[in-house]
Amino acid sequence: MTQSASPQATNGKPGPMLAADGTPLKRSLARALRRQKMRALLLIAPLLLFVLITFIAPIADMLFRSVENQIVEETLPETVPLLQQWDHDASELPPEPVWTAFYIDLVLAEERKLHTRLGSRLNYEMTGLSSLFRRTGRAVGRFDTDTYTDQFTALDPTWEDAATWVAMFEDDTIREALPLTARTWDRWADYLVTDKNDNPAEEDVEDFLFTALYTDLTRDGVSVTGTTPRLQQAAGAVGDFETVSIMAQFEDADDDWVNPEVMRTIQTYSPPYTSGYFLNAVDMQLTPDGVEAREENQRIYGLLFKRTIFMSLTITLSCILLGYPVAWILANLPMRTSNLLMILVLLPFWTSLLVRTSAWKVMLQQQGVINDVLVWLGLVNDADRLVMINNQFGTIVAMTHILLPFMILPMYSVMQTIPPSYLRAAKSLGATNWTAFWRVYFPQSVPGIGAGSILVFILSIGYYITPEIVGGTTGTFISNRIAYHISSSLNWGLGAALGAILLAVVLLLYWAYDKIVGIDNVKLG
């Protein structure tokens, strides 16, 4: 109407608005609101901290585990840099220095009992590595490297004295000349001091230290001039030493080491961060030659993701179909009756999830209630009772039942806000019951359906207990696989990667939903 079209307020004054005291209005407003904001922040601080500590931080940590791979580099610090330089196409097996470094790393890891953990980590990528590491760990102390020990002590018996070594590595010139030995000695001394509370100067000098010393002294361009005579003597003598092939020692310990795949796997998974878990989670694998799809019969996660999404959608859809009429009745009945019915809707919430799921097991199994009734009615032959559990059908039925309240409640609260006069208006305008419902009532109830669908879909996509119990092999979700990796196979990295993908899928769907339906259209009441 014409009167209400009020003229635009005109403000000819340029520049920012000023408050009465001359400060810009925005600033003085911000100042006035600051106390209020601080108070609000203080009030929510306990909850914020709680959520941060118990929810956000663990999730962030788990997500981080999906790419984290520092264990290889930490356990094999000498081997990893050398392995990186190894061209696995040129030679089947890495050169001798790599094996020497690996020997040193493995001895130290075995002392610290870290080699089994590394074995389990690498076992995810290549089956058998776990036991290989365990076996080799036992053998590595008995390698024939005492040949070097004997030859050095033959030159000068004081080599056998740990004090000699302690003194030697206080000299920076020597440290510089013998880098590998210095690093190895430091790790060894550190292990003795921190883990065993021993004095390195009082312990035996182990074979691997002499191996390191030999390796350093035989290195091209090594210079020990200006150091101790003992070392100079040794440097002069090593050229004539009897050598030991460390690679052969490994082969002796276990034949599997000459399988080129073993070292390649270690090489592939040596960087501190890896995409390997994620590739695994999408049925691919990281090989020395790059990313490859897994063989047909090893693919499982793609199928599981597709099944999870398909079943979640089916459950959401059946919840909509079953919940809509219930919500409609609840919203249109007089308050007293609808409250009573609402209690019936909420009743499942007060029953244990396990009890409800187990009840479905009783109902649906082949010797269960429903089959018995069908057989008794003669609708089904006793011989071919219906298989309704331990498959997708069972999961869908049980989860639809469990998640139905989450669909009904938001639909109900939205429908409650739709006045009955809309339907009446539509009918008075000439619409049939169906047209009035479809053109007028339904569009207004869509926000409730949207809210319920998001709720049910997101809950069901991550559901775990019910599919575990009634899902059998064909009715399980990706979450069951995640749980398996977290609690049984202990491959947390893969579990985390699967979880991260699931999270990404949910966020993606949420985003798509926002684009298509608009998240503003979602109402919980």
């Binding site: 109407m1 014409t2 209400s4 006045p419 006069s421 809309y422 009446r424 208006a425 539509a426 009918k427 008075s428 305008l429 000439g430 619409a431 049939t432 019951n433 047209t435 009035a436 053109r439 007028v440 569009p443 207004q444």
Partner: protein, 366 residues
């Protein structure tokens, strides 16, 4: 207009009763007949059954007993969407998910009308309520008055002959309400449609209607044109309900020559016009409109009974003066005087004498 023959009645209620719980009648024996083109208002306090009558006419409630006829045919068993009655709801009930034009187009779409014809009719209806520029807006973007206009246009767009309005102006502020009363009346007259209008606002009823049906307790208390209703209420409910009214209680002493002599409970005697008292000895409630009370000695009728009064309060209201008096023990006796140069402004404590024309003083049921 009050004397409508049943044959050419457009809307007819015959012995209609309605009960929701099977124990109480919300509408008791309703008989009403309206000619084509009439603007009839159902007026009454809440719970008086007026909205129920409207809903029965629209088809959203079924009559427990009796017959409702539209254009001569009984519509008791016709579902609402086939009655072709336009309706404007209290909260407008504009569909929030449709634009204004879509709202108006809706009744035409369900009637399977062609697109160009629809657009033409929608445009015409919008122009009629002066909202031609608002077709693309959503109802939520409109003010209350604009929504009201759209609701009206929607009820009219499919050319219904009968339009029902359920307190359509209840949510508007006073000024807008008065403006819209005029608008609705103008449009209804222009189109020649029959309107049944429900309200609890008596000013609205008086200013808009051809006839007003005053409802109370499930019955029509009086069905009359506004002036009759105001000046000649048939019972004390109507007298009380319509406009401001002074009542004095007493007993009929005698009825003679169309005059009733009433002895008030305080002993004073007054003349009144007998309306629903028939014989001496009956208890009665006499009703006098505040503006018909005279206190200027010069204008008091010779020989008529007068009453002594004490001024309790004088309120200056601009165009009128409103004075509260104590008359025959009643402390809420109001008189209204036009603000004119020669009118005396009474002061609290003044002792005055008041009187009125006997025909303005109606002896009604007690």
């Amino acid at each position: 207009m009050a004397e409508t023959q049943s044959e050419d009645a457009f809307v007819e209620f015959e012995r209609v009763q309605k009960s929701y719980d099977g124990e109480n009648l919300v509408v008791k024996d309703l008989n009403l007949s309206m000619p084509r083109g009439e603007f009839l208002t159902m007026l009454g306090p809440s719970g008086s059954g007026k909205t129920t009558c409207l809903m029965m006419l629209a088809g959203f409630e079924t009559a427990t007993h009796g017959d409702i006829r539209l254009g001569g045919t009984s519509i008791n068993n016709i579902p609402p969407h086939k009655r072709g009655i336009g309706m404007v709801f209290q909260n407008y009930a504009l569909f929030p998910h449709m634009t204004v034009a879509e709202n108006l187009s809706f009744p035409l779409e369900v009637r399977k009308m062609g697109k160009s014809e629809r657009e033409q009719k929608v445009k015409r209806a919008l122009d009629m309520v002066q909202m031609g520029a608002f077709g693309g807006r959503r109802p939520a973007q409109l003010s209350g008055g604009q929504q009201q206009r759209i609701a009206l246009a929607r009820a009219l767009v499919f050319e219904a002959e009968l339009v029902l309005m359920d307190e359509p102006l209840g949510a508007l502020d006073k000024q807008l309400r008065e403006h819209m009363q005029f608008e609705i009346k103008r449009i209804a007259d222009n189109l020649g449609i029959t309107v049944v209008y429900v309200t609890h606002d008596q000013t609205e009823a008086l200013t808009m209607s051809d006839r007003v049906a005053v409802f109370d307790d499930g019955r029509i208390q009086q069905l009359a044109p506004p002036d009759q209703l105001y000046e000649a209420p048939e019972n004390s409910f109507v007298a009380q309900f319509i406009g401001e009214n002074n009542t004095l209680e007493g007993t009929v002493k005698e009825i003679r020559n169309g005059r009733a002599l009433v002895q008030l409970d305080g002993g004073e005697m007054i003349d009144a016009k007998p309306v629903n008292v028939s014989k001496a000895g009956e208890r009665t409630r006499v009703s006098i409109r505040p503006e018909r009370v005279e206190y200027n000695k010069d204008r008091l009728q010779e020989g008529a009974h007068t009453l002594k009064a004490e001024v309790l309060e004088f309120i200056y209201m601009g165009d009128i003066f409103r004075t509260r008096l104590r008359v025959a023990g009643n402390e809420d006796f109001i008189i209204k005087t036009r603000n004119a140069p020669d009118v005396e402004r009474l002061q609290p404590g003044n002792q005055i004498e008041i009187g009125w024309l006997p025909e303005d003083c109606r002896a009604l049921d007690a």
